[in-house]
Subunit: 389 residues, 2 copies
C-alpha cells in the first residue's frame, strides 16, 4: 500500500476557526494605507461608535505634540480619514473611539515608548527610507547578557554587528556606544530609533563605515528592559531608578571591556564613539570626560545637561579639570544637536557658551522640533556618517 503523509491546504481550514486568539482580525479593513501622493488613509470598523478620532504625530497640532482629527463613518460601520500629503517620516498614532484610546486593529506594527504603545507607519521617498528594511545586506542584532562586576549583576544589552562581520576573518571594527534616554532601555534605539535600519542603509550606501553598535541599559538599578529580567512583567517606571547618580557612568568600562574582549573591535580611542539622547547625552557627556582618553567621537543629542555652580562627587567631581583633560588630549568630533523647541534648549546654549569660553571645539546642529525621536533618528543618521573616517 503506497502511502504519503502530507498536509493538504484544506486540512488547515480548521486552523482559522481554531485560532481563537485571532481576535483583532479586521478582515477587509486596510489601515493605515499610504497613498500615491503620500497622504495616508486610516480606517477602523466601529459600527457602534458615536465618535472616532485618530491621534498621532502625523496629525497637525498647535504645540508640536500629537494632533487629533475626526474620522467619518461610511457604510458597513467603517470609519475613515485621509490626511493631506505627509513628509517622508516614521509616524506614530492611535485611535480614540468614544473617548477610549486604542491601537489600530488592522495594524500589528507597534513601538513602546516608556509606558506607551503606539502604532507606526512609514511614508517613503525621503528620510523615511532610512528607516525601512531595504533590499541590502543586514547586520546581526543580538540581545547579550554581560557581567558587570562594578554593579554586581548580569546586565542585558543590544549589540549590532554590521553585515559581513561574521565572514570577515580577523578584520577589526570600530564601536559606537549608543545610549537611550530616561525611561528607555536597551531596546529603545532599535525600536523607536530604527538604529538597525539606519546603520544597515548607511553602510550599504557607503555613507558610513561598517561599525559595531552597542546599546546598553542606562538604569544601573535594573539588569534589563521591563519584562526581560527577573523582576517579571512589571509596569515600566515603577521600579527603582539609578540613572543619574553616577553609578552607571562609573561602571561603564565594564561594558567596554566586555565588548573589547568578545568582539573584534578596534581597541583604541580612534575606534570608539559614544553618543546618547537626553539622559543618554548626559551619560555620554560624563562618561567621555571621566574616561578622558577613551572616545574620539562624542555625540550629545538633545542632551540633558545643566549648568550649576556647585560640584558633585564621583564621576561628577572635578568637572573643569576633567573636561580640560579630555579636550587637552584631543578628540576628533564633539557633536551637539538639539531642536529649537526642545525644553533642554537653554541648557545646551549654556553648554556651548562654556565650551566656547574655554576654546573647546565642537560641531553644532540645530533642527526644528522638540524632544522627540523624530529628531534623534536624524541626529544618528548624521552623526554615524561622520565616524571613523
Amino acid at each position: 500500500m503506497k502511502k504519503f503523509l502530507i498536509l493538504l491546504a484544506a486540512a488547515l481550514l480548521p486552523f482559522q476557526a481554531f485560532a481563537q486568539q485571532a481576535i483583532f482580525l479586521s478582515e477587509g479593513v486596510r489601515s493605515p494605507q499610504v497613498n500615491e501622493d503620500n497622504s495616508v488613509t486610516f480606517r477602523i470598523h466601529a459600527p457602534k461608535a458615536v465618535k472616532v478620532e485618530v491621534t498621532g504625530d502625523c496629525i497637525e497640532s498647535d504645540n508640536g505634540g500629537w494632533g487629533r482629527a475626526e474620522l467619518t463613518e461610511g457604510e458597513d460601520g467603517v470609519w475613515s480619514l485621509t490626511t493631506g500629503p505627509l513628509d517622508s517620516e516614521l509616524y506614530s498614532y492611535a485611535f480614540i473611539v468614544d473617548g477610549m484610546q486604542m491601537l489600530d486593529p488592522s495594524n500589528v506594527f507597534l513601538m513602546r515608548d516608556v509606558r506607551s504603545l503606539m502604532n507606526i507607519f512609514i511614508v517613503p521617498g525621503g528620510k523615511g527610507d532610512f528607516y525601512e528594511v531595504c533590499k541590502t545586506s543586514h547586520g546581526t542584532v543580538s540581545k547579550v547578557w554581560y557581567d558587570s562586576p562594578s554593579l554586581g549583576m548580569q546586565r542585558r544589552m543590544t549589540v549590532y554587528t554590521p553585515a559581513g562581520y561574521e565572514d570577515s576573518g580577523s578584520r577589526r571594527y570600530p564601536v559606537l556606544y549608543l545610549l537611550h534616554g530616561m525611561g528607555g532601555d536597551e531596546d529603545a534605539w532599535m525600536t523607536l530609533g530604527r538604529a538597525t535600519q539606519i546603520l544597515d542603509n548607511l553602510i550599504a550606501q557607503g555613507k558610513a563605515e561598517p561599525m559595531i553598535v552597542v546599546m546598553p541599559n542606562g538604569n544601573a538599578g535594573l539588569p534589563s528592559a521591563p519584562g526581560e529580567g527577573p523582576e517579571g512583567l512589571y509596569q515600566p517606571m515603577t521600579r527603582p531608578m539609578k540613572t543619574m547618580e553616577g553609578s552607571y557612568e562609573a561602571a561603564f568600562m565594564d561594558i567596554v571591556k566586555y565588548v573589547d574582549s568578545h568582539y573584534r573591535t578596534v581597541k583604541k580611542k580612534s575606534g570608539r564613539a559614544i553618543a546618547g539622547l537626553s539622559m543618554g547625552g548626559f551619560h555620554s557627556f560624563h562618561i567621555s570626560k571621566q574616561y578622558e582618553n577613551t572616545f574620539d567621537y562624542v555625540g550629545l543629542f538633545s542632551a540633558a545637561v545643566r549648568e550649576m555652580e556647585n560640584g558633585g562627587s564621583g564621576v561628577y567631581a572635578d568637572f573643569d579639570a576633567k573636561i580640560a583633560r579630555q579636550f587637552g588630549n584631543g578628540l576628533k568630533l564633539y557633536y551637539i544637536a538639539i531642536g529649537k523647541d526642545d525644553f533642554l534648549y537653554q541648557e545646551n546654549v549654556r553648554l556651548r557658551e562654556y565650551l566656547d569660553q574655554h576654546g573647546y571645539p565642537y560641531e553644532y546642529v540645530e533642527s526644528d522640533g522638540g524632544h522627540i525621536w523624530r529628531n534623534w533618528r536624524v541626529y544618528l543618521t548624521d552623526f554615524a556618517q561622520r565616524l571613523f573616517k
Copy 2:
C-alpha cells in the same frame, strides 16, 4: 568660576509633559494583578463605557477557546474583575469595551500571534515558572541574516546560544532546529513559545544540555517576519506563502550549512535535533526523512501530517522508501506529541498506525487541550530535556 554641568531631576519634569506619546498611561490603575492565591484582577478606567468585558484563555469557555466575563464598574469609572485561582501558566487576554476589542491600557506586555495582538501575564508556582526570566545566567538571542543559495535570497532567523557559549573556548554545542507553524515566523518560538526562558531555565537547572537553538522562517516565499524585511510594514498573511510545497524543506540544508560554519556546533547526526509545531511538525517530518542521516532527534508537536494514497514530487516523493531509510539508519528519539482536542488528532493517530505497522519506534505524549501554544511550550520543555544525553 566653578561650573558643573549636571541634570537635576527637576530639569526632567517637563519630560512628562513633553512625552506626548505617553497616551496610554493609566495612572493608578494596576492591571493585571496576580494575587496571593493566584487569582488575577483585571482593571480598566472606562468612565463612559456601558459594558466592559475581558476575553482570554484565562477565562473559562465551553469550547476550549477564549472565554468572556463582564467587569463591574466601581467608583471613579474603574471597572474590575477578579478571577478564581488560576493554574500556573502564561495567559493571554484583551478587553472588550462596548463591543470594541482593545488591549489593556495598563499592560505593555504583548504577543503577536499571526495577525492578533494580545496582552500576557504569568501565574507563577508551576510550569509558568519555566516561562519567567529567572535569576540565572542567560543565553544570547540573535537575529541573523544568512544566505540561502537554494532560495536565492538572504533570509532571517533567530539563533539562541546558551549561557557561557561566548566564553567556552573551542567547546562545541549540539543544535536544535525549532520550527514554527503556519502564519508564524522566526520570532514566534521566542515570543509565543518563550523558548529563551524555557532553555535558560532548563539548562540552569541541569535538566537540559546546553544547546544552540536555531529558529528559521518557514515561509520560503519571504525572507523574514512581517515588518522585518524589504516588503515593509504589511499585514501578516497578505503576502505570498510558500510553506508546504516543498521548497523550504528542499532548501533546509542551507541553514544547517550556515549554522555549522558560523557556530561551534557538533557537526554530526548525534548533535542535531529538529522539531516543530503544526506546519513546523510537517516540515520536521519531511526534512528529517529527506536528509535521512542528519538528525538523531525528531519532534512532531501537533504535527500537520495527513495520510494520503497518492504520492508527491520533490521532497514529498518516495515517502515509504525515505522513511524506511531514516529508521533503518537508526535515530535516538522520534517524538510525537498532541492534545486530545487537537483538530489534527486523527491524522496523528494514522501516523502512529503507519509507524506501528512498520515497526518504527517512537515516543508518544498525549496531553489535554487543542492546537494551542500552551501545549507547544509544554512539549518543548519536555522534548528539550531528552536531547543530546
